[in-house]
């Protein structure tokens, strides 16, 4: 990139676009590589929680993700409104 390009701001930094796209897709694909016990875990958790609170099948999400050197197991449950 020349200095003229720099001052005129005519060229977009495509490398940073590439990096952002890769960050997203790699995080997604690494999550897809997660252990295959996740669906079973989700079903069993739903059964346990369902004993006490009525929860919809699609209101519970279990995901596993690598962050740096450790893995994070994320459990997301959306409870129904108390009405």
């Amino acid at each position: 990139m020349s200095l003229l390009d720099y001052f005129l701001g005519t060229r977009k930094k495509t490398a940073s676009v590439a990096k952002e796209r890769l960050q997203l897709i790699l995080a997604h694909e690494r999550a897809a590589d997660a252990p295959d016990f996740l669906p079973a875990l989700q079903a069993e958790l739903l059964a346990v929680i369902g004993k006490y609170i009525p929860v919809d099948q699609d209101k519970i999400k279990v995901t596993m993700e690598r962050r740096g050197d450790y893995e994070v197991l994320e459990l997301n449950i959306l409870f129904p409104d108390q009405h």
Binding site: M1, S2, L3, L4, D5, R11, K13, T14, A15, S16, A18, K19, R21, L22, Q23, I25, L26, E29, R30, D33, G68
Partner: protein, 269 residues
């Protein structure tokens, strides 16, 4: 007992065979008895890059099928002592590599050599899985480019899940990142992923950076491994890679753009 090193990438055309030839030659130049094996059944090319294509008589598939002894199939490299090549078959398909056959060859080679370098085919199918299965260490060859980085990440996942070490629950395969076809000027211009970018994305230790260079084509044209191209950046960069692999501390070279004149900088070039 030999260390087994796989040179892999997932993506094709990033420099696996160039690297396998240069890296194995470099280990041999440093006095280590080394054998380099081509796992790309049906697409034999390591022999061409090493300049021994006219001396191939038997190949790895012949050995697996008992049609030749291992010693008959090994070709002694003409460029340096201590290096042998085990070519692949050009006519068979990838199913010719059996798990047991490859294991038996590895076992036999382990007795005689210090290093076994496995040149993986592209992809994540049988040939690639066979090449990485026995590895103690992996050199993941990556270009600073989106598809190559993604495929490298994929192959890292496969190494972590499907190598012999993973299956046996042993210490994991030691992973190394080798960035190839690196163009410092384009990185500076913001049009190519930097060393830091790729390292941050793939999260494995950097073994080295090979600059984009016309010497690589010059080398393969003649069947001379790039590390023998005296006086070139590429040869020096591969020497550094081998030295670092053997535990030496070598600073990175050829990762900054060459200085250009004022007018060229002003108007681009």
């Amino acid at each position: 007992m030999a260390r087994i090193v796989v040179v892999t990438s997932g993506k094709g055309g990033v420099g696996k065979t160039t690297t396998s030839a240069a890296f194995a030659s470099g280990l041999a130049l440093r006095g280590h008895r080394t054998v380099v094996i081509d796992f790309d059944v049906g697409l034999r090319n390591l022999d061409l890059v090493l300049g021994c294509e006219r001396r191939v008589v038997y190949d790895v598939v012949n050995v697996i099928h008992g049609e030749a002894r291992l010693q008959q199939a090994l070709i002694k490299d003409k460029h340096c002592e201590n290096l042998y090549v085990l070519p692949t078959s050009q006519t068979r398909d990838k199913d010719a590599l059996t798990q047991e056959g490859v294991a038996a060859i590895m076992e036999e080679l382990r007795q005689d050599f210090d290093y076994i370098v496995c040149d993986s085919p592209a992809g994540i199918e049988r040939g690639a899985l066979m090449a990485l299965y026995h590895a103690d260490e992996a050199i993941v060859v990556t270009n600073p480019e989106v598809s190559s980085v993604r495929d490298s990440d994929r192959i890292l996942g496969i190494i972590a899940a499907r190598s012999r070490r993973a299956e046996a629950g042993q210490e994991p395969v030691k992973e190394h990142l080798l960035l190839t076809r690196y163009a410092p000027k384009r990185v500076q211009g913001g049009e190519m992923l930097s060393i830091d970018d790729v390292q941050e994305l793939l999260r494995i230790p950097l073994l080295g950076v090979i600059p984009e260079s016309e010497s690589v084509l010059q080398a393969s044209n003649q069947g001379i491994p790039a590390i023998h191209m005296k006086g070139t950046d590429v040869a020096a960069a591969y020497e550094d890679v081998v030295a670092r692999f053997l535990g030496e501390d070598r600073p990175l070279r050829f990762t900054q753009p060459e200085r250009t004149g004022f007018f060229k900088r002003l108007f681009g070039g």
